[in-house]
Every structure is written in C-alpha cells, then in structure tokens.
C-alpha cells in the first residue's frame, strides 16, 4: 500500500479495529507482558482498506483519514521504539548472563562436601530421598537365563584386595547385633553357607556406564539378618520381616584391610536380591571377584558390590563410603 493513500472511515470501528489487530497492522500494540503501548503505524494491509485504528488508540502518525502518512517520520518512530525496547531487553539479557555466571562461580566455589561443592551434595541427597520414597523391595531386577551370563565377568576394582590375605584364616566380623550379650560375633563361611542358598542371574551396572550379566550364588542378606538380627532403634526384639523400619538404619561393610568400604541404607540391604555371595558362574569366587565372600546387590551400582567382606556393622550412623568420599552419590541406587 502506498503511504499517502487515504483511509476510509470504517463502518464499524470496533470490528475493523479487531480485524486490523488480528492482522497485526495499523494498531498500537499492547504488549501483554509489560503493559507498554507501542504505537505502530496506521498503515492498513492492502486487502483490508476499511481497517482503521480503534478509537482508544494513542494518536499514531497520520491516523486521520485523508492525511498522507509521512513515511520518514513513521519509520523513525518505529525504529525509535524498537531501540527503546531493545535497550530494555538487552539490559535484562545482560543481567541474566551476569546472574548465570555469578551462580556458576558461586556453585563451584562452595565448601567441598566429600569431593564436590556442598550444593551438589545437597541435591544428590535430595534425589536420594525421592528415590528412597519411591523404592520398593518388591521391585526386582530382571533375572536372566543362566546362558546369558558372561562366562568371564570383568573385574574392575581391586581396592582392598591386597596380597596380604589368607582366605583360609578369614573370618567375618559382625557388629551391632541385637543380642545384648553378644553384639559382636565372628562367623565363618560355613555359617553363611548354612543359610538358604539363592542363585540369580542379574546385571551388574557400573557407574561408568557399562554392564555385565553375572550368575551369582549366595545367601540373601535378609536371611542373614533373620539369623543374626541387627539391633533395633526402639531397643525391642527385632522383627526383620514385619518391622523392618525399626532395624538399624544402615549397614556398613568393609574389606579386612579397611581400604574399601561401602554403606547401605537398610531397605536396600533387605531387598531379596541382595546376596552375601560366595559363588560366581557356579564356581567359588576367585580372589579377583572377592573370595571368599562378597556382596551382590543389583539394586545398586557396581561400586556397592564390595568384594572380600571382612566386617559387617549395623548402625544408625550413615556409614562412610569409599566412592561417596570421592564426589560420587552415596546412595548409588537403581
């Protein structure tokens, strides 16, 4: 449309205004977000010659019919408005960018809490709380056919598996038992093997992102606790089956040389697929796989599947965990 074309009076100003607005032309634009009224030009689209500004509009350039639009002035006005809006918006953008970098700087300079700045630790702990709320011991990890098991399972970690170790003299120490006369006991592999033997073929998921299917055999940790019940929080007689919430909150496991140690919260220890394991692929554990006794806990990452267990402690204090101290999630659960 040429700029000096006269605009006819609309028959119905409101309707014409709406029509014009719907096409985004010739209307002061009410910005819904900031409430500012930005005067646009009055030029109506060529296919709606009857369109005109609504009566309430602030006086736009050459709004009056019959008066030619001064193109130059109109463009300047528009550019001026755009500049004004740009200045404001880009100022906001600069503030946002500044805030972003400040936040980043703040995050990475916080006091470290076990290897990571504390805000990250708090988020991992919050994620843990949500995961624990959702967790159900009834949700089982998939069990595979024995044929699917890896014939030569990868051994990844050897921390705590020093040379200075004699499997024949090995004994398992258990601390924090309910029996007040004997809160600490020493057990042998025979004691563990006396518990019902369970086999499972499950996936061991490494925190690094790989996984293997392993054929395990051993005793359920839950059965172990039935036989050697942990102390309760209330001080009453423990009832592993019916009152698991009254049991000690945590289980701590460590290698005989104390070099490697993991912590578990009680509900994961009670999971039916958490085994005190003494066989892999139908054979006794090899030293690299954690002979004579290790943990197989498929509801946790591989790092919690501690090899060569020397001591098990039931405790209400959150136990230390080797990798959690290096910045990893303490929970590490699936």
């Amino acid at each position: 449309m040429t700029t000096n074309e006269p605009i006819k009076e609309p028959v119905d100003a409101t309707e014409a205004g709406r029509a014009a607005k719907s096409r985004g032309a010739a209307m002061p634009v009410q910005d819904a977000e900031d409430g500012a009224v930005h005067t646009a030009t009055n030029a109506a689209p060529p296919h709606t010659p009857e369109a005109a500004p609504a009566p309430s509009a602030p006086v736009p350039i050459a709004a009056t019919p019959g008066i030619p639009v001064m193109a130059k002035a109109g463009d300047d006005e528009i550019e001026g408005q755009m500049h004004q809006m740009s200045r404001r918006s880009f100022l906001w953008a600069a503030v946002a960018i500044g805030a972003g970098f400040t936040t980043r700087q703040w995050l990475i300079t916080r006091r470290p809490d076990n290897g990571i700045p504390w805000p990250f630790r708090r988020v991992l702990e919050t994620n843990e709380q949500l995961a624990r709320d959702y967790f159900k011991t009834a949700r089982l990890v998939p069990n595979f056919a024995v044929a699917k098991a890896d014939p030569d399972p990868r051994t990844n970690g050897d921390i705590g598996l020093g040379e200075d170790f004699d499997p024949d003299t090995w004994k398992l120490t258990v601390e924090g038992l309910a029996d007040k006369n004997a809160p600490t006991r020493t057990l042998t592999l025979k004691d563990i093997k006396a518990l019902p033997k369970v086999e499972m073929v499950t996936e061991l998921k490494c925190i690094e992102g790989w996984s293997i299917i392993v054929h395990w055999a051993g005793a359920r940790f839950a059965d172990f606790m039935e036989k050697y019940p942990p102390a309760t929080q209330s001080g009453e007689t423990p009832d592993v089956k019916h009152k698991p919430n009254d049991l000690a909150n945590y289980v701590s496991l460590q290698t005989p040389d104390k070099a490697y140690y993991v912590g578990l919260e009680m509900e994961s220890a009670l999971h039916p697929q958490t085994l005190l394991c003494y066989e892999i692929n139908g054979e006794p554990l090899t030293p690299e796989h954690g002979a004579p006794l290790r943990l197989a806990i498929p509801v946790k990452y591989g790092v919690k599947n501690i090899k060569r267990i020397g001591k098990i402690s039931f405790t209400n204090q959150r136990p230390a965990d080797y990798w959690a101290e290096q910045g990893y999630d303490w929970y590490a659960g699936h």
Partner: protein
Amino acid sequence: MKRLEKKHPLAIRWFHWINFPVLMIMIWSGILIYWANDIYRIGFGSHTLFHFFPAWFYHPGYDDTTQKGHALYNLDARLAEGMAWHFMFMWFFAINGLLYVLYTAFSGEWRYLLPGLHTLREAIQVVLHDLHIRKQPLPRRKFNGAQQIAYTSIVFMGAGSLITGLAIYKPTQFAWLTNLIGGYGISDSFGVSGYNTARFIHFWLTMGYVAFFLVHVTQVIRAGWNNFRAMITGYEVAPTEDSPMDGPVRPDKVVMEGGQA
C-alpha cells in the same frame, strides 16, 4: 513504511534462554559421564570411521604419546563431577521443558509450532530455498514448515532424553520403562550385542541436539539481526510493503487468538 510486529511471547523467550545454558550444561556434564565408557562410534563391523570421542576432543593440546603439552581444557577423569552437575541440572531441564510444553499447549502457541498436513512439502521448499535451488521467496510466517518440524522434533527429543535418562538412572525402580526401551544393558535391539539401548538412544539424542544447534545458529545468522533481536525483545520490525505475516496453519483460529506472529 515499517511497523512493529509482536513475534515471541515473553514466556517463550524465557523458556528458550533458560534452556540454552541448561542444555549446554547437560551436554557438557553428559560428556564427562560418557567419557568413563566411551564406546559409541560410526562404523561398520570392525571398521571405525569415527570414534566418540578421540583423545584430542577430551584434552586438545595434550600429546598422548609423549604425555606432554598443556591441554586447552580437560573433559576426562571427571565422572563424579559430571554426575553431580547432570543430576542437579536435570531438574531445571525437565521443569523448564515441561513448563514450555504446558505454555505452548494452553496459550495456543502450539498452532504456530505443530506441523500440519502440508508442512513436509513446505519444509522441502524451505530447504530448496536455503540451498538456493528454489528462487521464489518463502511465505512470510512466524515459523515455516522446516522450522515447525525442527522445533516440534526438539521437544520430542527432549522428552526422549528425559525418558531414556530415567531408564538409565533408575533401571530397577523403573524397570518397566527400561525394558520398554530395550534394556539398560545387553540388548540386541540394534543387532549389536553389548550396546546399552537406553544409553545408546540417550547419547544419540544428544548428538541430535548438537546437530540442531549447528543448523539453528547458522539459520539465525542467515536470518539476520532483526530476527535474532525478536527472540530477545519479542518484536520484529517489518516493512509494511510485505503483507503481514500469515497466521498459523489454521487461519480460522487467528482472529480468536488475536494473535499476530
């Protein structure tokens, strides 16, 4: 003559500009995690065309053979750090994405974004135009067919990242989901044993973001300052000689919305 056209609502501008750094952090921290088991590649059989990622990608400037040189940056041996960032910013990514989807659904903005019946044909025209094969100008509209497909796909990709991410993150508690996707671990879904299907998809979606980003930035540069500024201010200066932008694909809705692109 010129006029101002309202182009992007404030909410969408915020969603967009919050998503940008958050997604960058997710990709960066994702690489820190991926490094610990960087098994993906482009290749066939035992022949690898490209391995994700070569050593120079993790620490450019450092010579692996001589073990000397000063790396420009380091992306290796930072798994714990990567997980800490990833599991913090996943919340921002998820919440921002969810709010964006809800906003577009309830504000009616989806009409500009969702592909219609003729979108694919138009998208082909756009690509031909951008490659200078088709000379005719494109229809002036807020988002053309190619954009609609790209911007809708990216939302589905985001949802895919959240779903596959959850499948990797909690594969037992969400075993139904993990199994639906093809398993956390050993899977024959791609005919390749040993690939973690959920992780595989999660990785390739990220590569998709990188590809999207490259095309997106190129197109934004090509479209020019006025277009870019509109993503900051919300407004675009348009010459009145152009017909006003066509509305969304379903023009009957435009008047009701009072919407101008």
